[in-house]
Symmetry: C2
Subunit: 115 residues, 2 copies
Protein backbone atom coordinates (compact mmCIF):
# COMPACT_ATOMS: atom_id res chain seq x y z
CA UNK A 1 0.00 0.00 0.00
CA UNK A 2 1.23 3.43 -0.94
CA UNK A 3 1.05 5.27 2.37
CA UNK A 4 2.23 8.51 0.76
CA UNK A 5 -1.06 8.80 -1.08
CA UNK A 6 -3.82 10.77 0.60
CA UNK A 7 -6.57 8.53 -0.81
CA UNK A 8 -7.43 4.88 -0.41
CA UNK A 9 -9.63 2.63 -2.48
CA UNK A 10 -12.90 1.37 -1.02
CA UNK A 11 -11.83 -2.07 -2.20
CA UNK A 12 -8.79 -1.90 0.12
CA UNK A 13 -10.81 -0.70 3.09
CA UNK A 14 -13.39 -3.50 2.82
CA UNK A 15 -12.09 -6.58 4.60
CA UNK A 16 -9.41 -4.75 6.56
CA UNK A 17 -9.03 -5.91 10.15
CA UNK A 18 -9.82 -3.64 13.10
CA UNK A 19 -7.83 -3.85 16.34
CA UNK A 20 -7.95 -2.18 19.71
CA UNK A 21 -4.81 -0.36 20.95
CA UNK A 22 -3.72 -3.56 22.74
CA UNK A 23 -3.60 -5.44 19.44
CA UNK A 24 -6.73 -7.54 19.97
CA UNK A 25 -8.75 -8.03 16.82
CA UNK A 26 -12.20 -6.50 17.16
CA UNK A 27 -13.54 -7.37 13.72
CA UNK A 28 -13.15 -6.34 10.11
CA UNK A 29 -14.62 -3.67 7.86
CA UNK A 30 -17.57 -5.04 5.91
CA UNK A 31 -18.45 -1.90 3.94
CA UNK A 32 -18.65 1.87 4.08
CA UNK A 33 -21.86 3.87 4.33
CA UNK A 34 -21.61 7.02 2.26
CA UNK A 35 -23.76 10.13 2.33
CA UNK A 36 -25.43 10.17 -1.09
CA UNK A 37 -25.28 13.92 -1.54
CA UNK A 38 -21.98 14.98 -0.05
CA UNK A 39 -19.98 11.81 -0.68
CA UNK A 40 -18.83 11.82 2.94
CA UNK A 41 -18.22 8.43 4.57
CA UNK A 42 -20.69 8.41 7.46
CA UNK A 43 -19.81 5.01 8.89
CA UNK A 44 -17.37 2.21 8.43
CA UNK A 45 -19.39 -0.92 9.15
CA UNK A 46 -17.33 -3.33 11.23
CA UNK A 47 -18.50 -6.90 11.40
CA UNK A 48 -17.77 -9.33 14.14
CA UNK A 49 -18.79 -12.88 14.96
CA UNK A 50 -20.94 -15.16 12.82
CA UNK A 51 -19.80 -17.68 10.28
CA UNK A 52 -19.31 -17.18 6.53
CA UNK A 53 -21.09 -13.85 6.73
CA UNK A 54 -24.22 -15.23 8.40
CA UNK A 55 -25.35 -14.09 11.80
CA UNK A 56 -22.66 -11.48 12.14
CA UNK A 57 -23.07 -8.41 14.28
CA UNK A 58 -22.40 -5.12 12.55
CA UNK A 59 -21.11 -2.02 14.25
CA UNK A 60 -21.33 1.34 12.49
CA UNK A 61 -18.24 3.35 13.42
CA UNK A 62 -17.63 7.01 12.57
CA UNK A 63 -14.83 7.13 9.98
CA UNK A 64 -12.52 9.20 12.14
CA UNK A 65 -12.54 6.67 15.01
CA UNK A 66 -10.36 4.50 12.74
CA UNK A 67 -6.63 5.13 12.54
CA UNK A 68 -4.66 3.08 10.07
CA UNK A 69 -1.69 1.31 11.62
CA UNK A 70 1.02 0.44 9.12
CA UNK A 71 2.60 -2.22 11.35
CA UNK A 72 -0.63 -4.12 11.97
CA UNK A 73 -1.86 -3.42 8.45
CA UNK A 74 -5.22 -2.69 9.93
CA UNK A 75 -7.27 -0.03 11.64
CA UNK A 76 -6.92 0.69 15.33
CA UNK A 77 -9.80 2.10 17.36
CA UNK A 78 -9.48 3.25 20.95
CA UNK A 79 -12.11 0.87 22.28
CA UNK A 80 -11.89 -2.23 24.37
CA UNK A 81 -14.12 -5.19 23.63
CA UNK A 82 -16.59 -4.23 26.36
CA UNK A 83 -17.10 -0.69 25.04
CA UNK A 84 -17.67 -2.12 21.62
CA UNK A 85 -20.08 -4.79 22.83
CA UNK A 86 -22.30 -2.09 24.32
CA UNK A 87 -22.06 0.10 21.24
CA UNK A 88 -24.74 0.53 18.57
CA UNK A 89 -25.02 -2.63 16.51
CA UNK A 90 -27.41 -4.67 14.45
CA UNK A 91 -27.46 -8.15 12.98
CA UNK A 92 -26.56 -8.55 9.31
CA UNK A 93 -30.18 -9.27 8.31
CA UNK A 94 -31.77 -6.34 10.16
CA UNK A 95 -30.01 -3.18 8.98
CA UNK A 96 -31.40 -0.01 10.58
CA UNK A 97 -32.83 3.05 8.88
CA UNK A 98 -29.83 5.32 8.73
CA UNK A 99 -31.67 8.43 9.79
CA UNK A 100 -29.96 11.51 11.21
CA UNK A 101 -31.31 10.56 14.65
CA UNK A 102 -29.67 7.18 14.38
CA UNK A 103 -26.46 8.81 13.20
CA UNK A 104 -26.39 11.22 16.13
CA UNK A 105 -26.80 8.34 18.58
CA UNK A 106 -23.92 6.45 16.99
CA UNK A 107 -21.64 9.50 16.89
CA UNK A 108 -22.59 10.42 20.47
CA UNK A 109 -21.68 6.97 21.71
CA UNK A 110 -18.18 7.31 20.27
CA UNK A 111 -17.82 10.95 21.28
CA UNK A 112 -17.57 12.22 17.72
CA UNK A 113 -19.38 15.44 16.71
CA UNK A 114 -22.18 14.92 14.20
CA UNK A 115 -21.90 17.47 11.43
Amino acid sequence: MNTASSVISSTKVDGTNVYNPGGEKLGSIESLMIDKISGQVRYAIMEFGGFLGMGTDRYPLPWNTLKYDVNQQGYVVSLDQEQLRQGPKYSSDTAPEYTDDYGRRVYDYYGVPWV
Copy 2:
Protein backbone atom coordinates in the same frame (compact mmCIF):
# COMPACT_ATOMS: atom_id res chain seq x y z
CA MET B 1 -32.87 -0.01 -2.59
CA ASN B 2 -34.24 2.24 0.13
CA THR B 3 -34.20 5.61 -1.61
CA ALA B 4 -35.46 7.37 1.52
CA SER B 5 -32.16 6.75 3.23
CA SER B 6 -29.52 9.44 2.93
CA VAL B 7 -26.65 6.94 2.88
CA ILE B 8 -25.64 4.17 0.52
CA SER B 9 -23.32 1.22 1.02
CA SER B 10 -20.02 1.17 -0.86
CA THR B 11 -20.92 -2.41 -1.82
CA LYS B 12 -23.99 -1.11 -3.68
CA VAL B 13 -22.06 1.63 -5.46
CA ASP B 14 -19.38 -0.73 -6.76
CA GLY B 15 -20.56 -2.36 -9.96
CA THR B 16 -23.35 0.15 -10.60
CA ASN B 17 -23.73 1.18 -14.24
CA VAL B 18 -23.08 4.73 -15.40
CA TYR B 19 -25.11 6.28 -18.23
CA ASN B 20 -25.11 9.56 -20.09
CA PRO B 21 -28.34 11.61 -20.16
CA GLY B 22 -29.29 9.91 -23.45
CA GLY B 23 -29.30 6.52 -21.76
CA GLU B 24 -26.09 5.20 -23.34
CA LYS B 25 -24.01 3.12 -20.96
CA LEU B 26 -20.63 4.75 -20.34
CA GLY B 27 -19.21 2.16 -17.96
CA SER B 28 -19.60 0.98 -14.39
CA ILE B 29 -18.21 2.00 -11.02
CA GLU B 30 -15.18 -0.08 -10.12
CA SER B 31 -14.40 1.45 -6.73
CA LEU B 32 -14.35 4.66 -4.73
CA MET B 33 -11.24 6.59 -3.78
CA ILE B 34 -11.60 8.04 -0.31
CA ASP B 35 -9.60 10.75 1.40
CA LYS B 36 -7.88 8.94 4.27
CA ILE B 37 -8.18 11.79 6.74
CA SER B 38 -11.55 13.36 6.06
CA GLY B 39 -13.40 10.29 4.78
CA GLN B 40 -14.59 12.27 1.77
CA VAL B 41 -15.08 10.35 -1.48
CA ARG B 42 -12.65 12.04 -3.86
CA TYR B 43 -13.40 9.99 -6.96
CA ALA B 44 -15.72 7.32 -8.18
CA ILE B 45 -13.59 5.20 -10.49
CA MET B 46 -15.57 4.29 -13.58
CA GLU B 47 -14.23 1.47 -15.71
CA PHE B 48 -14.88 0.97 -19.34
CA GLY B 49 -13.72 -1.47 -22.00
CA GLY B 50 -11.46 -4.45 -21.50
CA PHE B 51 -12.47 -8.01 -20.83
CA LEU B 52 -12.95 -9.71 -17.47
CA GLY B 53 -11.34 -6.77 -15.72
CA MET B 54 -8.14 -6.87 -17.82
CA GLY B 55 -7.08 -3.97 -19.97
CA THR B 56 -9.88 -1.73 -18.83
CA ASP B 57 -9.63 2.04 -18.87
CA ARG B 58 -10.43 3.76 -15.62
CA TYR B 59 -11.89 7.23 -15.31
CA PRO B 60 -11.79 9.03 -11.97
CA LEU B 61 -14.97 11.09 -11.66
CA PRO B 62 -15.73 13.61 -8.92
CA TRP B 63 -18.49 12.15 -6.74
CA ASN B 64 -20.92 14.96 -7.42
CA THR B 65 -20.84 14.46 -11.20
CA LEU B 66 -22.89 11.29 -10.55
CA LYS B 67 -26.63 11.55 -10.07
CA TYR B 68 -28.47 8.38 -9.18
CA ASP B 69 -31.39 7.65 -11.51
CA VAL B 70 -34.00 5.39 -9.97
CA ASN B 71 -35.51 4.38 -13.32
CA GLN B 72 -32.21 3.32 -14.86
CA GLN B 73 -30.97 1.96 -11.54
CA GLY B 74 -27.66 3.54 -12.30
CA TYR B 75 -25.76 6.80 -12.22
CA VAL B 76 -26.18 9.44 -14.88
CA VAL B 77 -23.41 11.87 -15.74
CA SER B 78 -23.83 14.82 -18.08
CA LEU B 79 -21.12 13.72 -20.48
CA ASP B 80 -21.22 12.32 -23.95
CA GLN B 81 -18.85 9.55 -24.97
CA GLU B 82 -16.47 11.98 -26.67
CA GLN B 83 -16.10 14.19 -23.59
CA LEU B 84 -15.43 11.12 -21.54
CA ARG B 85 -12.91 9.69 -23.98
CA GLN B 86 -10.83 12.85 -23.69
CA GLY B 87 -11.11 12.93 -19.90
CA PRO B 88 -8.42 11.91 -17.42
CA LYS B 89 -7.97 8.16 -17.48
CA TYR B 90 -5.46 5.41 -16.88
CA SER B 91 -5.25 1.72 -17.60
CA SER B 92 -6.08 -0.68 -14.79
CA ASP B 93 -2.43 -1.70 -14.32
CA THR B 94 -0.98 1.83 -14.18
CA ALA B 95 -2.87 3.71 -11.48
CA PRO B 96 -1.63 7.28 -10.99
CA GLU B 97 -0.31 8.92 -7.86
CA TYR B 98 -3.41 10.59 -6.51
CA THR B 99 -1.73 13.85 -5.63
CA ASP B 100 -3.59 17.11 -5.11
CA ASP B 101 -2.23 18.31 -8.47
CA TYR B 102 -3.72 15.28 -10.17
CA GLY B 103 -6.99 15.84 -8.33
CA ARG B 104 -7.19 19.47 -9.40
CA ARG B 105 -6.71 18.48 -13.05
CA VAL B 106 -9.48 15.90 -12.81
CA TYR B 107 -11.87 18.27 -11.06
CA ASP B 108 -11.02 21.07 -13.50
CA TYR B 109 -11.80 18.85 -16.46
CA TYR B 110 -15.28 18.19 -15.11
CA GLY B 111 -15.83 21.76 -13.92
CA VAL B 112 -16.07 20.80 -10.27
CA PRO B 113 -14.41 22.98 -7.61
CA TRP B 114 -11.53 21.27 -5.79
CA VAL B 115 -11.86 21.83 -2.06
